[in-house]
């Protein structure tokens, strides 16, 4: 890679002092604008939690309420419709943690197998998996629903759990992690010691691929937490709803009960803020995993 850009328009070193400061503050200012843009809706949401319904409409959106209604609002949220919101949180958590855990294990096993074993048609099978990455997910949801309806599985936990246990992109990442983190000699040593292939995978492969597996897990966890279309299509039973679906139902019923606006605002904050706090410390590790996965 030839890096040599012609030096014709280069700034002479002597004048670089002030120019450099000017550019640095421009760069920082641009980032600050982007940060403000990013945070504004979240701040609006945070202040919304402190407000009564009339205040949501009348007061300035970017300032807190004159009173303090956070606890009352949250209590109302969990009391509404016989406390169904707590149920939705639980459903979403089961669905996201369970789905992401299984998807991670299956992806890591498959990526490891693609990397460490030489078998007939390996690259063809791999190409099929990678083609799966490019399939628009929503395009297979409606046919999936029709299939689930044939076997009377719609409106069950499994109808939303099974489809999110598969992540072709995870296989792509896992193959890269396996080739980077698991030395072939170590596997040979385990085999010579008489360990079976599965045992070798669990004791050597999986352990070494731990950091990569965490990235795949976080990826899939967020994807499931964000998934709205699949539960919307599969579920009609209120008790099985995810948070997103539940809030959507409330949001669509604002016409009948204007107070749902307040509950949707409070519910959105309750569903979002703990997740943000949880993810900030994990974020750096996630980024490191992405770098190892070779997306560059």
């Amino acid at each position: 890679m030839s890096a040599a850009a012609p030096a014709t328009d280069a700034t002479p070193r002597a004048t670089q002092g002030t120019a450099w400061w000017l550019r640095r503050s421009t760069g920082t200012a641009l980032c600050a604008i982007a940060a403000l843009y990013t945070l504004a809706p979240l701040i609006w949401l945070l202040f919304g939690v402190t407000k009564t319904l009339p205040e949501l409409y009348s007061s300035n959106g970017f300032s807190p309420s004159a009173g303090f209604h956070v606890f009352g609002n949250i209590a109302d949220l969990f009391r509404q419709d016989d406390g169904v919101f707590a149920r939705w949180i639980l459903n979403t958590a089961v669905y996201a943690v369970g789905g992401a855990a299984v998807a991670t294990l299956l992806s890591v096993a498959a990526g490891y197998a693609f990397d460490k074993f030489d078998f007939k048609g390996r690259e063809k099978w791999y190409a099929v998996v990678i083609a799966g990455v490019l399939v628009p997910h929503t395009a297979i949801v409606v046919p999936l629903y029709l299939m689930a309806a044939q076997v009377r599985m719609t409106d069950t936990l499994w109808s939303v759990l099974i489809p999110v246990m598969v992540n072709p992109f995870g296989v792509y990442l896992a193959r890269a992690y396996s080739s980077g983190a698991v030395p072939g000699e170590l596997l040979e040593a385990a085999r010579i010691d008489g360990a079976g292939e599965l045992r070798t995978f669990f004791t050597v492969g999986l352990r070494l691929m731990g950091p990569g597996a965490l990235t795949i897990f976080l990826f899939q966890f967020i994807a499931i937490w964000n998934n709205f279309f699949l539960p919307l299509v599969m579920l009609t039973d209120n008790d099985l709803f995810t948070i997103g679906q539940g809030l959507f139902t409330w949001n669509s019923a604002v016409g009948q009960n204007p107070d749902y606006t307040r509950l949707v605002v409070v519910g959105s904050a309750v569903a979002t803020i703990p997740l943000i706090l949880l993810f900030i410390p994990l974020q750096r590790r996630w980024r490191a995993g992405l770098a190892e996965g070779g997306i560059r």
């Binding site: 850009a5 979240l42 959106g61 970017f62 099974i162 079976g196 709205f228 770098a291």
Partner: protein, 324 residues
């Protein structure tokens, strides 16, 4: 199988760009124990993959060639009859479908370049010495990725709603009247929601690639007298081209699936967005409001086909550029 060939190319390129030595398969003859190992490790994934990816696509394809027909007075209920390309000609002459596809393509035409340009700009800014407090900005810009898409859409629609929105209040008092939820502005309102959500994620994708660039190439440019901006464009960007392409490809496929945001806008009740505003919304309403599963399946097939064609075009263009 356009999507398949392009997928293989995508893999080939990203792999080639990665210099890490592949320990690779151990080669030699495949012992029975090894074969059992492959089956046990790959089997579970492929069973579920077949069940949740291949089978629905095949089923949708099959359904798209049939339709329901009422015999006589229709007392016996509908009969499933072979329909040839009937559903496809219907879709391709259905103004709802054509307009929806047009909207999604227009949306993608605005959204994809804006998002990728912004993501690359901020990734470059955070990679350069031009910005202070880089770690803080990275974390803040990444936050929306963690916010569920539906909640992001709900919050933004509130910010677009007259009466609730401080933005509209502020603009009104400045004498500017905008309607975020009606007319031509809706498209940009939706692009804004999507950019807000995806900017940080795509920025990180490119930033991670930038961090992996050998520093000596950047140093060399600096010694040759290139400034930060010059270095960014002629040295850094060409080296992260594969990451930019992956981000672009994912964004294109994502924008074809546009559903959540317009659905929320539509259900807000004060918008011109209809229930068949995008092909995906049309498929949803065909399946669950008209119970026309054959037509819904046909639209699903067409969306997947469009994604395949676009992926193929993008990767081909990218490969041609790489070959140059």
């Amino acid at each position: 199988m356009a999507s398949l060939t392009s997928a293989t190319r995508l893999r080939g390129r990203t792999r080639a760009a990665r210099p890490a030595a592949r320990a690779g398969a151990t080669g030699g003859t495949v012992r029975p124990q090894r074969r059992a190992g492959v089956l046990l490790l790959l089997g579970p994934f492929f069973v579920l993959f077949a069940l949740t990816y291949l089978a629905p696509m095949a089923y949708a394809l099959w359904l798209s060639f049939f339709r329901e027909k009422f015999e006589g007075v229709g007392w016996e209920g509908p009969q499933r009859v072979f329909a040839g390309f009937h559903n496809y000609t219907r879709a391709l002459t259905d103004t709802d479908f054509l307009q929806g596809t047009g909207r999604v393509l227009l949306y993608g035409l605005v959204y994809v370049p804006v998002l990728i340009a912004l993501a690359a700009t901020f990734a470059l800014l955070l990679d350069s010495a031009l910005t202070a407090a880089r770690r803080f900005f990275q974390t803040v810009l990444f936050l929306p990725h963690i916010v569920p898409g539906l909640i992001a859409a709900i919050v933004w629609v509130y910010l677009y709603t007259p009466g609730l929105s401080p933005v509209i209040d502020a603009l009104d008092s400045a004498g500017v009247h905008v309607d975020f939820l009606n007319g031509g502005g809706v498209l940009f309102s939706l692009v804004n929601i999507a950019v807000w959500q995806a900017l940080g994620f795509n920025m990180v994708l490119i930033y991670v690639a930038l961090q992996a660039i050998p520093r000596n190439t950047v140093e060399a440019a600096r010694i040759d007298g290139a400034g930060e901006i010059r270095t960014a464009f002629s040295v850094k960007l060409p080296q992260v081209f594969p990451a930019v392409m992956v981000a672009t490809l994912f964004t294109i496929i994502g924008s074809l699936q546009l559903f959540t945001e317009p659905q929320i806008v539509q259900s807000s009740g004060n918008s011109s967005v209809t229930g068949s505003w995008t092909p995906n919304m049309l498929a949803y309403s065909a399946a669950f409001e008209s119970n026309d599963y054959h037509y819904a399946a046909t639209i699903s097939v067409l969306i997947a086909l469009l994604a395949g064609v676009l992926s193929f075009v993008v990767t081909t263009l990218a490969n041609r550029r790489n070959a140059r």
